[in-house]
């Protein structure tokens, strides 16, 4: 890297996302990375660490706490927000879409920030994708439980075998152009009502 590695602080209450980002930064040769997950006395910790770059997720209300850094004259170095330089609109848009914001100490060269920010955006997007997959897997599991319970109800009420119950669910779903899980859910709801 030529110059010494900039000191980077990650402010994120999600330990997994922070770990993914931290790992990516280390792999890219940024060795001075510190993760802060505790929001109490956030500013005091940041002043003690004196970072060159602060990365914070946009779902974090403590972004407003960081804004205070612009006010405190006793801070040795003044940070600037990433959005100050509007020339790179695409990268601003990408970072907001990814859900991350960066604060950079004044004077750090733009070409040194770009790879950090790009990496940050790609890791945040990777995490969001992972989260989506996890949510989908969870809801698939949830669907399976609902379908099993609906099958049980049909077997009991209509004297069907498990396979017949499933075929009935599937054919109803196809006829009504709905998901099997939705049909199963309506059976559960109906059976609750009729109890």
């Amino acid at each position: 890297m030529g110059e010494s590695s900039p000191k980077i602080v990650i402010v994120d209450e999600s330990p997994i996302r922070a770990a993914i980002l931290e790992e990516g930064l280390r792999e890219a040769g940024f060795t001075g990375v510190v993760h802060i997950s505790e929001m109490q006395s956030l500013l005091a910790r940041i002043y003690a660490l004196d970072p060159d770059v602060i990365l914070i997720d946009l779902e974090n209300p403590s972004r407003d706490v960081l804004e205070q850094m612009f006010q405190v004259s006793r801070a040795v170095r003044r940070p600037i927000a990433m959005f100050v330089d509007q020339s790179d609109a695409a990268s601003i848009q990408a970072s907001v879409d990814a859900g991350v914001s960066a604060y950079i100490v004044d004077g750090l060269k733009k070409e040194r920030i770009k790879p950090i920010l790009d990496l940050c955006i790609s890791r945040f997007n990777a995490f969001a994708k992972l989260q989506n997959e996890l949510d989908r897997a969870k809801s698939a599991l949830e669907d399976r439980k609902v379908i099993d319970r609906a099958k049980g109800i049909l077997m009991k009420l209509k004297g069907l075998t498990e396979e017949e119950a499933y075929v009935l669910l599937r054919s109803t779903a196809m006829r009504e152009k709905k998901k099997i899980g939705e049909i199963a859910q309506s059976i559960l709801t109906a059976s609750e009502l009729l109890k």
């Binding site: 974090n60 972004r63 609109a89």
Partner: protein, 389 residues
């Protein structure tokens, strides 16, 4: 044809006119298809408005001015064609600080001069005994909360930068921080003061309207260049918000308004707490003491919806007083031009009539505010940070 709009807001009661405009169909009646986006920080609201992800936003009035002046951040000129609320904040203190102030008070407990002087005696006693300085929390460096706290305590001789710690804290963390002793007091909007009282962790010491009779709190903010390109949409938005504000101000509609606002994806707190705020009838102590004020929060009534450039000038004067902005005639002009009574009047067809509204700031101390002589006004205040930024 409907116009799709994305509008950001923070879950606070003073977003009421915006939320009701959408959820009661006033916006749809104006041909607007508004998606409200709930946000977690003022920084997010500002940035998303600035880069165009939001068409409009519920925004702290001082942030609209700071953004237009390029203070602390990128300069993006903002216009405020509608005032979502005047006042609405309160100062809540821990039980211990409340007791300490009441032990020192000489005068009425709702008199901000009496409490400010009492606070200065508490601060002096703490210094003498070697205790840690008191910590006061507020919501944002460019916020009315910041200026109200500073204005109040400085009047009693307490220097907000030297004698206490004044810190930014996101509103959802305030009640916990007061309970855990991380902070001794805070100034915030509704519903957080009431929540602290209901949970028994704080006492409301002042309504911000004790300190200033009329303070512009949150505005409906749009980018100036967007507003110039879309005058019809801005006018439609102003009409929708204005109708919503009128709706909320009818006492018989308050229960319905509070119920709408209490939805989880809107403000997400009990309708009862929201209604107390709209009614200006707040429980101020865990012992059940109630206090009512018809000035606690003004949404639409008494001409509150019409932006008043003198209010913008007063906020700019506070930025100058506390070293956030340098003083210049040009900056003062820019600040005043953020507040757009002309757009308000044009939208509602009320040319000139809005001027009937009382225009005073009504601060409890200091000379009458002169929006054309900031330097002269500020000279009257002993404690200030001018020129030190």
């Amino acid at each position: 044809m409907t116009t799709p709009l994305h509008i950001g807001f923070i879950p606070l009661v003073d977003a009421a006119a915006l939320i009701i405009a959408v959820d009661k169909g006033f916006a749809a009646a104006e041909g607007l298809d508004v998606t409200l986006v709930r946000e977690v920080s003022w920084s997010n609201v500002r940035d998303k408005l600035n880069i165009g992800l939001f068409d409009a936003a519920h925004l702290l009035a001082p942030v609209a001015i700071a953004s237009s002046l390029g203070l602390g951040h990128v300069r993006v000129p903002i216009s405020a064609p509608f005032n979502l609320g005047l006042n609405g904040n309160a100062i809540t203190v821990s039980a211990a600080l409340h007791a300490a102030i009441m032990a020192q008070i000489d005068g009425d407990r709702f008199d901000p001069m009496a409490t400010a002087l009492a606070l200065s005696r508490v601060v002096a006693a703490r210094r003498k005994s070697g205790a840690e300085p008191l910590t006061f929390a507020m919501t944002f460096p460019f916020s009315t909360h910041n200026y109200q706290l500073r204005f109040w305590m400085a009047a009693g001789g307490v220097d907000p930068d030297e004698d206490v710690r004044l810190v930014v804290l996101p509103p959802p963390y305030m009640v916990d921080s007061l309970a855990s002793g991380q902070v001794d007091a805070f100034c915030v909007g509704a519903p957080w003061n009431s929540i602290a009282v209901d949970l028994g962790v704080g006492q409301i010491l002042h309504f911000a309207s004790d300190i200033l009779a009329r303070a512009a709190e949150k505005v409906l903010a749009v980018r100036q260049n967007w507003s110039e390109k879309n005058p019809q949409i801005v006018a439609a938005l102003v009409r929708a918000a204005s109708r919503a504000a009128e709706f909320i101000e009818q006492p018989q509609n308050r229960a319905e308004a509070a119920r709408i606002l209490s939805a989880p994806e809107r403000i997400g707190v009990d309708a009862d707490v929201i209604q107390r705020t709209l009614d200006g009838r707040l429980k101020i102590s865990p012992d059940g003491t109630m206090r009512a004020s018809d000035r606690y929060l003004l949404i639409g009534r008494e001409g509150a919806g019409r932006p008043d450039p003198a209010q913008a000038a007063w906020l700019y004067a506070q930025m100058v007083r506390w070293g956030q902005a340098s003083i210049s005639a040009e900056a003062l002009q820019t600040a005043k031009a953020v507040f757009r009574p002309d757009l308000f009047d044009a939208a509602l067809g009320r040319q000139g009539k809005g001027a009937d509204a009382p225009g005073t700031i009504g601060a409890f101390v200091g000379p009458a505010f002169d929006a054309n002589d900031i330097a002269g006004y500020l000279a009257a205040f002993a404690i200030q940070r001018r020129g030190k930024s």
